[in-house]
């Protein structure tokens, strides 16, 4: 079965470029090993190896992207690493539009973040280990996005989770940080139950772990997979909900901001959190063909996430948390888009979001580096001190708010257009409100951070070139990344990501959808306007917040809908304390007691047997027999006088007696 002949677009096999794409995946792991063992001895403490690695990845992925744009590449490679029953366990790498796009995103953002981090992390604890983990993360992410089999997806999926754990908990001396890391890992692990079972169901009903074959079977109406499509689809989505922080499993992402800012930018904004979206996109033909009902659920959760997270972002005073909730909200957009069947729109938003959100995070990092606090209440007026950071941050903000011609405008518009096309009016309206909220909280953040007067202590200063140059590069992307997919003008991006082994059936807007475009634009402008009015004209957060504070909604938002409270009170603490201790008590006081009482009963029985039967019965009899033998012998021994002649006399008497007996009696 030639799976590669499915799609109708024209493409090649990528030649040696595709064949050696495994280098992308393997290289970071080797580098991570080298950094671990030799990093500390090197002049730049291992950062140079990390940079070289990620630089090579960037160039390789750029080359791949170039080749893909010019001629199109679809190919996949497999290595069998084991057989179990009838299943082949295979690793491998897939080189097609979707994965090349991801390679490029990972390569570019990672390169810029690495450069940024060499300066940002200077003088911090575990500098070398930080780069080991980052490199490891890059590798793990590439394992994930290059995966042609579900099992490799799962591996990459959890590896990025571990890297996330390591990096969130980078400052593990403080318990809060290690708890945040744990929370991230365990929340994801809970979601992974869904992913794991989903994979198991798909594997057992298709007889293979290869994604392309599963997709082939689902687009060709195979009976077995059809029966389980809905369940499998929902389960896979549960997995995606964890990694891509969808409501109600988003709680880990804001806490994950405990990690260093470059980590937040790379993992918790641009790449790792998009893994869920990537998974849905990778499996999109399956959803589209068989699990349409599951897609409705996907869309529902996406929309819920985008609005709820956006609202929380409004009340946050921590700059990074604003961005974190914003990320959750934007992931909601992507998920909602996939749910509505807009494959390209979702990936397009992933693409633009990766750049401008990384930009915003790195900008925030630059600010935090300068003022040594996360709280926006202690910032303000930084535009004077940090002009380069300010300008790039503004570019990111405008891109996120969705104003033309910045990147976010095009991608958000395409999502809104798809929702409109699908006729999901309610969801469309909520998404537009979401766009308004986005613009509002970003304006609030800019106003509190950069405008007004400086409220903190000390003298903030512009960051080093190593930090501002990546910001500028990202700013370029934040402006231009959207131009690769302008309906009616140039829709190259659509072609890139739909060039896959399995055909994608979806709606591509041929021209701008003006309803969606103008409502989204107006919502964004209104948000910025209101934000500017409330926070800039009033001057400070306190006053601004007072203006728009609506009890009790505000309280609910500040407590994040009481979700954490709920989880801790009703799930985690009961498990960790009550149930676990109960089990332990059962173990020692019940099961162990049974065993012990068997032992005690046995020893008690033993006492009885020993005292009554053994000592007073058998032993007494034995003793009696020996004492009687003893006393009898004592009497008989007197016969033994030692006189030979007496013996002989007796002997003779004996002989005579016996002879007489023989003679006369017998």
């Amino acid at each position: 079965m030639n799976l590669l002949a499915e799609s109708k677009l024209s493409y090649g096999d990528g030649g040696v470029f595709a064949e050696y794409a495994w280098i992308l995946v393997v290289l970071p792991f080797i580098s991570a090993l080298i950094i671990t063992f030799f990093g500390k001895k090197l002049p730049y403490k291992g950062a140079e190896i990390a940079l070289a690695t990620i630089g090579s990845i960037f160039f390789y992925s750029s080359a791949l992207l170039y080749k893909h744009i010019t001629e199109g590449i679809v190919n996949e490679f497999f290595i069998v690493v084991g057989n179990i029953g009838t299943f082949d366990i295979e690793f491998g790498w897939v080189v097609d539009g979707l994965s090349i796009m991801m390679y490029f995103v990972v390569g570019t953002v990672a390169l810029l973040v690495f450069i940024y981090a060499t300066n940002y992390m200077k003088g911090e604890v575990r500098y070398t280990f930080f780069f080991t983990s980052l490199t490891l993360f890059a590798g793990s992410m590439l394992v994930l996005v290059s995966s042609p089999t579900l099992i490799q997806i799962l591996i990459g999926w959890e590896l990025v989770g571990v890297c996330s754990y390591l990096l969130i908990g980078h400052y593990w001396e403080t318990k809060d940080n290690s708890s945040a890391a744990m929370k991230a890992f365990i929340t994801n692990k809970i979601a992974d139950i869904g992913l794991m079972i989903g994979i198991i169901i798909l594997a057992l009903n298709t007889g293979t772990l290869r994604i392309s074959e599963i997709l082939y079977q689902s687009t060709h109406d195979y009976e077995d997979i059809k029966n389980v499509a809905f369940v499998a689809g929902v389960l896979l989505f549960i997995g995606a909900m964890g990694k891509s922080a969808q409501f109600p499993l988003h709680v880990w992402l804001p806490d994950a901001m405990a990690g260093p800012t470059p980590v937040s930018a790379l993992m918790h904004a641009a790449t790792m959190v998009t893994a869920g979206v990537y998974l849905l996109a990778r499996m999109f033909p399956f959803y589209e063909a068989m699990a349409h009902e599951a897609l409705d659920i996907v869309m529902l959760f996406g929309v819920i996430t985008l609005i709820t997270a956006g609202l929380i972002a409004v009340v946050q005073d921590d700059l990074k948390k604003v961005l974190a909730y914003s990320t959750v909200s934007q992931l909601g957009y992507m998920v909602a888009a996939i749910g509505s069947g807009a494959y390209t729109a979702s990936l397009f938003h992933l693409w633009t979001h990766a750049f401008f959100k990384a930009l915003l995070f790195l900008g925030a990092g630059s600010v935090i580096h300068a003022v040594h606090t996360n709280s926006m209440l202690e910032m303000g007026g930084l535009r004077k001190y940090m002009p380069r950071t300010f300008i790039t941050f503004i570019i990111g903000t405008v891109a996120l708010a969705g104003l033309p011609p910045f990147a976010g405008f095009f991608s958000k518009d395409e999502i809104l257009a798809s929702l409109n096309h699908e006729g999901e009016t309610t969801f469309l309206v909520i998404s537009i409100i979401g766009a308004f909220v986005t613009a509002f909280y970003m304006t609030r953040a800019v106003a509190l951070t950069f405008l007004g007067e400086y409220r903190g202590h000390g003298h903030p200063h512009e960051s080093d070139k190593m930090m501002t140059v990546p910001l500028m590069f990202l700013a370029v992307f934040a402006i231009g990344a959207g131009w690769v997919n302008i309906p009616g003008v140039y829709t190259g991006f659509t072609t890139w990501v739909t060039t896959r082994a399995n055909k994608i059936n979806e709606y591509h807007p041929e021209s701008f959808d003006y309803t969606a475009l103008f409502s989204g634009l107006i919502a964004g402008l209104l948000g910025i306007g209101l934000g500017y009015f409330v926070y800039q004209l009033q001057g400070s957060a306190d006053k601004g917040d007072k203006l728009i504070k609506v009890e009790p909604i505000w309280t609910v938002l500040e407590n994040k809908y009481y979700l954490d409270h709920f989880y801790f009170k009703y799930l985690i603490n009961p498990t960790k304390l009550t149930i676990a201790n109960a089990v332990d008590r059962i173990n020692t006081n019940f099961l162990d007691r049974i065993i012990n009482s068997f032992g005690l009963a046995a020893s008690f029985l033993g006492q009885i047997v020993y005292n009554n039967f053994d000592q007073k019965g058998i032993d007494k009899f034995l003793n009696a027999s020996s004492t009687s033998t003893d006393s009898f012998g004592g009497k008989v021994k007197l016969l033994q006088t030692g006189k030979t002649q007496q013996y002989l006399m007796l002997f003779l008497a004996g002989v005579v007696t016996i002879s007489l007996l023989i003679l006369f009696i017998i």
């Binding site: 069998v80 690493v81 084991g82 057989n83 179990i84 029953g85 009838t86 299943f87 366990i89 690793f91 099992i151 799962l154 591996i155 999926w157 959890e158 590896l159 571990v162 754990y165 908990g169 593990w172 001396e173 403080t174 318990k175 290690s178 708890s179 890391a181 744990m182 890992f185 365990i186 692990k189 809970i190 992974d192 139950i193 794991m196 079972i197 198991i200 169901i201 594997a203 057992l204 498990t575 960790k576 149930i579 676990a580 201790n581 089990v583 332990d584 173990n587 020692t588 006081n589 099961l591 162990d592 007691r593 065993i595 012990n596 009482s597 032992g599 005690l600």
Partner: protein
């Protein structure tokens, strides 16, 4: 090589250690370095021999018993010295010789009190004979003998070199030394199980044409000769014998005590190899000889495994004692192994074997680490530990790695056993109750979350944070070269199996498929 293929090689793998143990007994006590040298040499040679066996093994015929021999042993009851290996026992045999080498390397410099290298090393070697023998024995009586041999050295290890703290025991009025309680409990508990197991063996002997030969009994069993109440009873007693050893819930309570009380090397060997004897018994004896009964019992085993997974993980969450936590984690992990076995599918049993190997490697390493730590800190109380990454960076990093491996991180060894066991349990053998198995699978999946929970929590309490004041001024020694020499190979093995599971599956898959085919048909 001729000398390997006629059974001599395997016999050497089995008996070389015990011969060296005897030799060690004749070396006077003052010659410590000679004793250590002999012990190390013999274990290394045994390991090399097992590698030669591995090389000689014909993987294209992994489902057949190879490199074995058969000699008359006790003629009057037709018990023979019959040995051989196939793809199922090969990985376990190599694991056993491998872990033994590491255990001896570790013991060279880290003998528990009272130091007495002569006795301790000799006991390890005797133990190795028992373990290796169990994996190659193809005769029920021979199997039983080896199965029981392991009890003795372990009993002495716990009883003599074990934890001397005084503890109270529920139900017992007076307090007792931990090592005494644990060693007696371990010995009596397992002996209790195996006594019944012997009865089962005798039952098979009398109904099965007066033979103790496992391959012959499998032939007889697969024709459906063992049926009715007899077979049910036999399976029940075999189950009892093996399940105690595994240990399955609720027969597990000897395990935490034995592990906690045992010296480091003792708990390593206990976790890494001894527990596998039970699950190996299921795969080698109980299932192929009594397939119909296995089918009848499978749902019960699956339920017990699922309970074991959840229960073990929850119990871990409640522990404050580091070693006890790891011990309870074994209950959970062996639950996955048994869940795989209960599914009676080739996927499940393959998963069980790789799970056994992975658990041996990973939990063995965990016990090495925690044992070494409790030796350094003189406490196992996690409330007092903390900041281990700062105090003992090497040990801490390895502990972090191993905890990740233990929670079934994909890409490391533990993952395959867990994931494939769940895969097997989702679609068990035709005719088994699917609701029970799928519920067990979901329970197992929830267990993975709890596993992650307690291990990460453990890491947070032990590894992370600032060190407590009581350790600040103390001079604490990080892992030395002997320890690293014992640990690093396990780390490498964990990674290798993780990224290339064919190392195990390559040997087991054909054998398992064949076993399932013989027992349950196509």
């Amino acid at each position: 090589m001729e000398i390997l293929s006629n059974g001599l090689g395997l016999s050497a793998v089995v008996f070389l250690p015990i011969i060296s143990a005897l030799l060690i007994l004749f070396i006077p006590k003052p010659y410590e370095s000679v004793i250590k040298g002999v012990a190390l040499l013999s274990s290394v040679v045994t390991f090399i021999l097992s590698i030669l066996v591995l090389l000689e093994f014909d993987f294209s015929k992994a489902s057949q018993l190879q490199l074995g021999s058969k000699a008359t042993w006790i003629e009057s009851i037709n018990a023979n010295y019959e040995i051989g290996i196939d793809g199922i026992s090969l990985p376990l045999l190599v694991l056993s010789t491998f872990i033994s080498v590491l255990a001896i390397i570790y013991s060279l410099e880290h003998l528990p009190e009272p130091k007495s290298p002569k006795g301790f090393l000799a006991l390890i070697l005797v133990l190795e004979t028992g373990m290796n023998g169990t994996f190659v024995a193809l005769d029920l009586i021979l199997f039983f003998v080896f199965f029981e041999i392991v009890l003795l050295p372990m009993y002495f290890m716990i009883g003599i070199w074990g934890d001397k703290t005084i503890r109270s025991v529920s139900g017992l009025k007076k307090e007792i030394e931990t090592r005494l309680y644990a060693s007696i409990k371990f010995f009596v508990f397992t002996l209790f199980g195996s006594a019944f197991m012997l009865l089962g063996f005798l039952g098979l002997y009398y109904r099965g044409n007066k033979t103790f030969s496992i391959p012959e009994l499998i032939e007889i069993g697969s024709t459906g000769a063992f049926t009715g109440t007899f077979a049910t009873l036999v399976f029940a007693v075999l189950f009892l014998g093996f399940a105690v050893k595994v240990p399955m819930w609720p027969l597990h309570t000897w395990l935490p005590d034995a592990h906690t009380a045992a010296p480091t090397v003792g708990s390593v060997l206990l976790a890494a190899i001894l527990l596998k004897l039970g699950s190996y018994g299921f795969i080698r004896i109980a299932i192929p000889i009594l397939p119909e009964q296995a089918k009848a019992w499978a749902p019960a085993i699956a339920i017990l495994s699922a309970i074991g997974i959840i229960y073990g993980s929850l119990a871990c969450l409640a522990q404050t004692d580091l070693k006890r936590l790891i011990a309870f984690s074994s209950v959970g992990h062996m639950g996955f192994v048994m869940l795989g076995i209960a599914s009676l599918t080739s996927v499940g049993i393959n998963a069980a074997i790789i799970g056994m190997v992975a658990h041996g490697v990973i939990t063995g390493l965990l016990f090495f680490l925690t044992g070494s730590m409790s030796h350094t800190y003189h406490t196992r109380d996690m409330g007092r530990l903390g900041g281990n990454m700062k105090l003992l960076p090497k040990t801490g990093a390895l502990l972090g790695f191993t905890a990740m491996a233990s929670l079934g991180l994909p890409g490391l060894a533990g993952f395959w056993g867990e994931f494939m066991a769940l895969l097997g349990a989702y679609n068990p053998l035709q005719g088994l109750n699917i609701v029970i198995f799928r519920s067990s699978m979901v329970a197992g999946a929830i267990g993975t979350v709890l596993t992650a929970g307690y291990l990460l929590w453990m890491l947070q309490r032990v590894n992370l944070g600032e060190p407590a004041d009581e350790w600040k001024d103390k001079e604490l020694h990080d892992a030395d070269n002997y320890e690293l020499a014992a640990w690093i190979p396990l780390v490498i093995l964990t990674v290798l199996i993780g990224i290339f599971p064919k190392l195990i599956f390559g040997a087991t898959n054909d054998a398992v498929v064949d076993l399932i085919f013989k027992a349950f048909g196509g």
